[in-house]
């Protein structure tokens, strides 16, 4: 089963710490560069309506519409998650249109090529942009670690098994009560 980050609306206070943590975790190599309008590109978004406050992000679907719609094979299942091979992405936006949750974005970044050790900017490079579960971050997703109210947590096969087992046990007990 694919892992994903789940948000609990009953704990979310809409502070957007997760958005900054996400942006920072994916920004710069090693030490994060200062944030600005140009590089603030969170893959998790806090939504506030009249009745709900919560964060939304990629579900890492089992039969992922984004993956199925990608003509370049840039979206793959890897390490119990849906990941993007950016070098294959052409920016066609099929994935963006296919995602039923609105959490796939397509962005452009300056394209950099290297010739004989010299880095050169050559136009722009498209990137399908969504939660990658901070796959390169040893401590796991930055949003989960930073949330001041513990409203975010990683759901994986083990935690789902446990919560389903608990639910089944509760169902069994309540059936006696009836």
């Amino acid at each position: 089963m694919n892992r994903f980050v789940a948000a609990d609306p009953s704990k979310c206070i809409g502070c957007r710490t997760c958005e900054i943590a996400c942006s920072m975790a994916h920004n710069g190599d090693g030490t994060p560069a200062p944030l600005s309008d140009e590089n603030f590109k969170p893959r998790i978004r806090v939504i506030k309506t009249a009745t709900v406050t919560t964060a939304v992000m990629c579900h890492h679907c089992e039969d992922a519409p984004c993956l199925n719609s990608c003509p370049e094979g840039a979206i793959v299942y890897r390490n119990n998650s849906v990941q993007i091979d950016q070098e294959r992405c052409v920016g066609c936006k099929n994935c963006m249109m296919a995602c039923p949750f609105g959490v796939m974005d397509v962005i452009t970044v300056p394209a950099v090529k290297e010739f004989a050790g010299v880095k050169m900017t050559t136009g722009v490079k498209a990137q399908a942009h969504k939660c990658d579960l901070c796959t390169d971050r040893e401590a796991g997703p930055a949003c989960v670690a930073s949330c001041p109210t513990n409203a975010l947590h990683v759901v994986d096969e083990e935690s789902v098994e446990k919560s389903l087992a608990d639910l089944r046990a509760r169902t069994a007990v309540s059936s006696i009560a009836v």
Binding site: S10, K11, I13, G14, C15, R16, T17, E19, I20, A21, S23, M24, T31, P34, L35, S36, D37, F40, K48, T49, A50, T51, V52, T53, S146, P148, T149, N150
Partner: protein
């Protein structure tokens, strides 16, 4: 990588973390398991450190003293020797000519720490000879301090932050905990998860209202009526604790008489609430085995602030929710050290530890320790008195430390006039601010992160913080600067370090005596009162054994008649403006505006939130720029449409330069605490047809304002090279 233990410089929660330092630069933070935060931080804690590094995103750090020879001249860079001499000479002249009461000083509730505040009030009282010293609590929780001091005998939170998670009922009144104290919001959620009932009274559908079991969206300006109705229900339905009231309170008969009129039906019109909801709220509150009342600026920033605080404490007294764990009254402090600046006596009526200046014995004790013949016995001026005292020719010199009244005080036109009306103004800060632009002398202080000391969290918790990086430029510690000015004025003050200051203040203040630096090592903490050296952590909750800190040990039940707010809406100004806070920015924004992450989340011109129905009527669309005007001023900001804002009211946060809501607020004050009625100003909103012009106009204004502030600092350096002062 070095690690230095610190306490967050933003809200009053008192979160502990390590500052991560590489090459004399702060590069990150690492949460610590502090008593109040238990390993959690909010966005300001995680990402609010880089202002120390002089990012120049909004304004430059001050690096050297600056002086202008006359008000029409630019600032010039000068040496510290010159700066100290100028400050001492000017203040001595003013004192000589007009008397000591012509000088006013401020402490700072922000990063400078308790020791600096102690030195500032000592300088004001012993060297200048006046009690004209105050801090920004005046425009914030001063009504809580004044109100609770009368009814319970102590102006602070009765119980501790960590107890909030264990209470069984929370009555949240005029307090947006999610935006003000995210890490305390976690405690509210914890309490709720453990089964606590949550009641929220707020005109706006704030985050806590969304989670509440019962939400009372009262009309703006009806607090006192609702609190009286709460008391009415508790008494009429026999829900109050008769035994507790008989044994531990006084004033019940008079109290009962006043609230008898305030039936839920009677206040229904005033509050806009269903009488049954008012009854239900009190049935829940009274039934809970333990219940806590939390409040914020929604209670205090009114002309009836002190009265409503007294009224809320009455509810806790009626139900016996005081003097034990997980109950009490919680005025949750907004700034990291606003509790501390009050504790340390940067208030016009008390010495450190709330010892009254009017008490001859107390004055004699301080005079003896400080080596002066006598100390002033007259209660001094408050910061909100400044405009009219200048107008009356009574104030001539002003020493402003770490505050930005030209951004944060009400009716900015009058604030600017008062600064211009002074003969001599010193601004001591870490950044060039709007207030510093009015100064004659600007003194650069070290920032949080560059000095050490003790902060007091909202729940009376003393915690130490360390220096992480060396001072920038020629910056000196606040307490060093004040000591040098004092010495130059003929009252020698010299301290080697903050511990020496702390030990002096401990000896003078019995309730702090047991709070030694040693106990606060690392993650150590002490909650005052702590009178005993053997007491490891001090007092977790006040009034144990239901002994209130009043002369007869009883709590006072107090109620008074409700009256409407001062500013009135009419056809010209039909909407109510209420000023509020947003989670990512802090105070005047001199710190958060210079943090890359925080300023990326929200930047000029800020916004005014409005209900979509009101917006539609006015032809205002979401995210469009609009004019907001009151009887006092007119500004431009961005409209944000949200159903969480109640109809008839609009809300603005107070840190923006362009969308500066304090150009609109007025000078109506609580009669006791002189706290302004920020929560109620009559305004109107107007749409702007040419949005392209408006966007350009905002950008130009912003660039000009930024340019003026950074230009003043850069230009001073250039001038010094050309013509040494």
């Amino acid at each position: 990588m070095e690690k230095h233990m610190s306490v967050c410089p933003y809200c009053g929660t008192g979160c502990k973390f390590n500052l991560l330092v590489e090459g004399e630069k702060i590069v990150g933070v690492e949460p610590l398991d502090g008593i109040t935060n238990e390993g959690r931080l909010c966005l300001k804690g995680h990402y609010g450190f880089d202002f120390v590094n002089d990012t120049k995103i909004l304004t430059p750090r001050l690096m050297y003293p600056m002086y202008r020879r006359s008000r029409d001249k630019d600032f010039e860079r000068i040496t510290w020797d010159e700066a100290i001499k100028i400050a001492a000479t000017k203040f001595s002249e003013i004192k000589e000519k007009y008397g000591p009461d012509a000088i006013m000083t401020t402490g700072s509730s922000r990063g400078c720490g308790n020791e600096t505040n102690f030195v500032m009030q000592k300088f004001t009282r012993a060297a200048i000879g006046t009690n004209n010293v105050d801090n920004c609590a005046r425009v914030c929780h001063a009504p809580s301090v004044a109100g609770l001091a009368v009814t319970l005998g102590n102006g602070a939170m009765s119980n501790s932050i960590q107890e909030i998670g264990d209470t069984e009922c929370l009555l949240v009144f005029g307090y947006n905990v999610a935006d003000s104290h995210p890490v305390i919001a976690r405690r509210v959620i914890e309490a709720k998860e453990k089964g606590a009932k949550v009641i929220v009274c707020d005109p706006r559908k704030i985050e806590t209202a969304r989670l509440a079991d019962l939400y009372l969206p009262l009309k703006n300006g009806s607090n006192m009526a609702l609190v009286n109705a709460f008391a009415n229900v508790l008494i009429n339905e026999g829900l109050y604790d008769k035994d507790f009231v008989a044994k531990h309170t006084e004033g019940f008969d008079e109290y009962k008489k006043i609230v008898s009129k305030y039936t839920p039906e009677y206040v229904s019109e005033i509050t806009g609430l269903d009488p049954d909801d008012i009854r239900e709220a009190m049935r829940i509150y009274a039934a809970a085995p333990s219940a806590t009342i939390l409040w914020g600026m929604g209670v205090t920033q009114w002309t009836m602030g002190v009265d409503v605080v007294k009224g809320l404490s009455g509810l806790a007294l009626l139900t016996g929710n005081l003097g034990r764990p997980n109950v009490g009254v919680g005025p949750v402090r907004g700034q990291n050290n606003v509790q501390g600046s009050c504790d340390l006596g940067v208030l016009p009526n008390v010495f450190p530890g709330y010892q009254p200046v009017t008490d001859a014995k107390i004055r004699a004790k301080f005079a003896k320790r400080w080596g002066v013949k006598e100390l002033p016995d007259k209660i001094g001026a408050m910061v909100t008195d400044v405009p009219h005292l200048v107008k009356d020719g009574k104030l001539k010199g002003y020493y402003i430390m770490g505050e930005d009244p030209a951004q944060t005080d009400p009716d900015l036109t009058s604030v600017r006039e008062s600064l211009e009306g002074m003969e001599f103004v010193i601004v001591q800060d870490i950044f060039m601010t709007k207030t510093a632009m009015f100064a004659d002398l600007v003194l650069p202080a070290t920032s949080w992160g560059e000095h050490e000391g003790v902060f007091t969290a909202a729940d009376r918790t003393f915690q130490r913080f360390e220096a992480a990086v060396p001072p920038k430029g020629e910056c000196k510690h606040d307490w060093e600067i004040i000591s040098e000015i004092s010495t130059a004025m003929g009252y020698p003050m010299h301290y080697e370090n903050t511990k020496e200051i702390w030990d002096e203040l401990r000896e003078l203040t019995p309730i702090f005596y047991g709070a030694t630096y040693e106990k606060m090592e690392g993650l150590g903490y002490v909650q005052w009162p702590c009178t005993d050296l053997d007491d490891a952590h001090g007092t977790k909750y006040l009034y144990e054994g239901n002994k209130f800190q009043r002369p007869n040990g009883k709590g006072l039940l107090y109620a008074c008649e409700w009256h409407p707010p001062m500013d009135q809406t009419d056809d010209d100004f039909p909407l109510v403006l209420c000023t509020v806070r947003e989670v990512g920015h802090y105070s005047c924004r001199s710190m958060t505006g210079n943090c890359s992450a925080l300023q990326t989340l929200a930047d000029e011109p800020g916004f005014v939130t409005i209900n979509p129905e009101d917006a539609k009527r006015l032809g205002i669309k979401d995210k469009e720029l609009v004019y907001v005007s009151s009887r006092r001023g007119k500004i431009i900001t961005r409209a944000k449409l949200t159903e969480r804002t109640n109809k008839g009211a609009v809300y603005m946060t107070y840190q923006w330069w362009i969308g500066a809501c304090n150009e609109l607020t007025g000078e109506s004050f609580d009669p006791t605490s002189k706290t302004p009625e920020y929560k109620y100003s009559a305004v109107k909103l107007e749409s702007i047809d040419d949005q392209i012009w408006a966007e350009n106009h905002v950008q130009e204004l912003y660039a000009t304002l930024k340019g003026n502030l950074s230009g003043a600092v850069e230009n001073a350096s250039v001038l010094a090279e050309q013509e040494p002062a």
